[in-house]
């Protein structure tokens, strides 16, 4: 079917409306969605940061010290703080959406979404506690 049929008495001339480029600014829910999408960039940034750290550790103490000095620069700290906020937002929205993707049935009944999201949060807390224990014990 043609998108732009000629107007004849026998074929209606459809009106096609275009979405505004700024559609995502009109509603708070859409802005939240776009923020969640943008947060992926910051997840990628943390991966790059981690790879740089691993490379610095591999290249010896001088390289590691240089990395630490670079990481302490106010600009890098600022970027990391913004990234932390976005990655936390990413994680929270991800866990909240998990029940939509997982339809778990136990004893013939569907497990409530709160429990599925809750188990994800619990795993997050346990993993974070494990990392904190490794870092803080010495």
């Amino acid at each position: 079917m043609s998108d732009h049929p000629a107007h004849t008495p026998y074929h209606p001339r459809w009106l096609r409306r275009r979405m505004s480029t700024y559609w995502w600014l009109r509603r708070w829910r859409h802005l939240t969605f776009i923020s969640r999408e943008v947060s992926s960039v910051f997840v990628a940034w943390f991966v790059v940061y981690f790879l740089l750290l691993v490379r610095a550790v591999q290249n010896g103490s001088a390289a590691y010290a240089a990395f630490l000095a670079w990481a302490a620069h106010p600009l890098v700290v600022g970027v990391n703080l913004v990234a932390l906020a976005f990655v936390t937002f990413h994680a929270v929205t991800w866990f909240n959406l998990a029940p939509k993707a997982m339809a778990v049935r136990l004893g013939g009944k569907r497990v409530p979404g709160v429990l599925i999201a809750g188990s994800n949060y619990a795993a997050w807390v346990v993993a974070s506690a494990g990392v904190a224990w490794i870092l803080l014990r010495g």
């Binding site: 459809w14 859409h30 997982m102």
Partner: protein, 247 residues
């Protein structure tokens, strides 16, 4: 309570306009009147040329979906009194071409819907004398939610992905595909996966979640799509591990 309310109704008369225009009508506003009653009042008493679709007036036929103050709504289930003193702005559903006034062109959805084979597919029908295909209540429960879809297209109207990329197969078609995939009598899941796992299928969805929010029948199309993503991903992994296995 106000005795009347102002409706700003979108008009598009292709023989005289090339854009939507708005016309104001003052209609009665009794407590039990829905937006559709207001439109029918206009059609009957004020301007018989106003065009819109409706049929059942009870949230079953899915014909009367329109944008009401910017939100996709079934106009038969949207009360005028919920809008206070008004005005109430009524427009044709977003993301679809407008044929006339509040009537939109939905062939695109119809083609997508039939592409996902929304019927029970059997490799072989069992003989009639063996009786019906029986189902337990749990088996019915597995797909019942998705079977409540009335094809009202509010979900397509709410979906910015469909608005930006009309090739996207869209929420209702995927939810209805899942309705049959999850049916214990159906054997067509592999055929549907060929269509649903394409780029314009489930992977087009970035989980905005608006489809589920606006659905008047609580079908949860966003949930159907995410669950199907999980199924498709597991199937891909399985085909790597057991490449000789049939679908």
């Amino acid at each position: 309570m106000a005795e009347t309310i102002k409706l700003e109704v979108a008009r598009y008369r292709p023989e005289q306009e090339s854009e939507l225009t708005f016309e104001e009508f003052e209609v009665p506003c009794p407590r039990e009147w829905v937006v559709l009653d207001g439109l029918n009042h206009i059609k009957d008493q004020i301007d018989g040329t106003l065009s819109f679709r409706w049929s059942c007036r009870m949230g079953i036929c899915g014909s009367c979906g329109m944008m009401v103050n910017g939100e996709p709504k079934l106009t038969c289930a949207t009360f005028l009194t919920d809008y206070g003193l008004g005005p109430v702005r009524i427009e044709p559903l977003d993301n679809f071409p407008v044929v006339r006034d509040l009537v939109v062109e939905v062939t695109d959805f119809m083609e997508k819907l039939s592409a996902v084979k929304p019927w029970i597919v059997r490799e072989e029908e069992k003989p009639l004398e063996e009786g019906e295909y029986l189902q337990t209540p749990a088996e019915l429960d597995a797909y019942k939610q998705f079977s409540m879809c009335i094809n009202c297209l509010l979900c397509y109207s709410a979906c910015p992905i469909y608005g930006l990329e009309p090739e996207f197969i869209g929420p209702a078609a995927i939810a209805l595909a899942q309705r049959y995939n999850l049916d214990s009598r159906d054997e067509g899941a592999a055929e549907r996966m060929d269509i649903l796992s394409e780029h314009d299928g489930i992977w087009g969805c970035t989980f905005v979640g608006e489809c589920t929010r606006v659905c008047p029948k609580n079908v949860d199309p966003a949930g159907a799509i995410q669950r199907y993503k999980l199924t498709a991903a597991l199937e891909t992994v399985r085909s790597f591990i057991v490449p000789w296995g049939s679908k």
